[in-house]
Amino acid sequence: MQEYKRISITKDEIVPLAEKMRKNGVILAMIHGYLDKNGLPNISYEYQIDPGIESYYVEGEKVLPTISHIYDLAAEWPERELNELIDITFEGLDTSKRLFMPDSMLEGQGQIFVTPMSELIEKAHKKKED
């Protein structure tokens, strides 16, 4: 069975840990995140140390440092996803362009996909009229 280890870290430890992992050739499997029942974010950095995963998690922080300068697109896409889906700010991450759909289609930040259909239809009509 694949091993899975959870380790709690602070936001200050995120970058040094990523640097250490990258130096050791460890693959960043994914950055996962969700909002718990109280609306607080739980972000975990899943490092692939075969045959297992070491999951380093940070709780309750809405602003985190980016590790995209260390792990490149392997970190940039998951960070942009978390930014657009659950409104987590990654300091230093280039968010000038959208990952999910072009800028012209949806507006706002965080959980943009939860935009009600009625609002989307209204926007489409408005765009047509303009």
Binding site: M1, L28, A29, H32, S44, G52, L73, F100
Partner: protein
Amino acid sequence: MSYIVPIGPYHPSLEEPVHARLITDGELISDAEVFIGYNHRGIEKLCMERNFIQTLVLVERVCGICSHSHAMTYAMTLEAISGIKVPKKGQYMRVITAELERLHSHYLWLGIALHIIGHDSLFMHTWDDREAIMDILEDLTGNRVNYGMVTYGGSRRDVSVEQKDRILKMLAKIEDSQNRLTEFLLSDKTVALRTQGVGVLTTEDAIRIGAIGPHARASNVPVDVRIDAPYSCYDEFEFNKAVFPTCDVFARVVVRCLENIESIKIIRQALDSMPAGPINLGNKIPTIKPGEYMCRHEAPRGQLSYKVVTNGTDKNERVSIHVPTFKNAPTIPTMLKGNSVADAGLIIASIDPCFSCMDR
């Protein structure tokens, strides 16, 4: 002069909706951007509102090609959280279905690649072989797309002696045609002209961007979850990682051809050494304990990961699904740079993308 050429979200050369903006300098692509999210169905959110039995049905519908991979990975995640031990025969049945799924997925991709290259007759021959695999999957599971093979603690269906014979007969047929296809692809001039040196993703770039699965193996990165982090009963079979060093579209074609042969080897071994005993836990409904786990599975397109958080109720607190395309799609701009606009469709298709899967 520089132009922006938009491709998609709906375009004849795309299997699924995605939007790419190609920044071109004459006929050559100098840069590219990819936008995803056109097939978002809110499946992760739905998973948080369904119970575990309903979620198993739901996640199988994330993808129409690797449906079994999703159900199997989700089930393995919950089984790990709750300490549920899957009977050996149930694991064998899951692996057989997973490898049949890999075969039909790779045949589907090979057919599409040949179609884009311009070999339409070979595309039809390839899909004829794929049809034989689909028939066997239907015979084995009762379904052609969403197999419903996985249940907590095992598999739903056993394989009969007659079915085993039919599977072995089909494998002999497709092994023969696969060998002929591989020989053709390795020697055909048109295939070479359309694929060799096209859409290069160097080994360094593949590692830097985090490519996975056959896409990474075609860039000479030897990663395969089945071998690197064995799960289910994969450690009981002998097979190789299909790796190829040329890092171009040609390598992606070759790797998938080689993987088909490896999948055939795995299925034969599983059928020959099928253990006796139950395929699942019977009528016992397992209790899902509170916990958290991340499980990885080598789906046809690469590493599929499920991270599930449970809280002791009958519903998921969180299901996070990350599919291989999410890791491989960021390589598209790098591969497109320096290639001609005419090759863009083939290069995007060469990662075997499943955007619907990725958007979930």
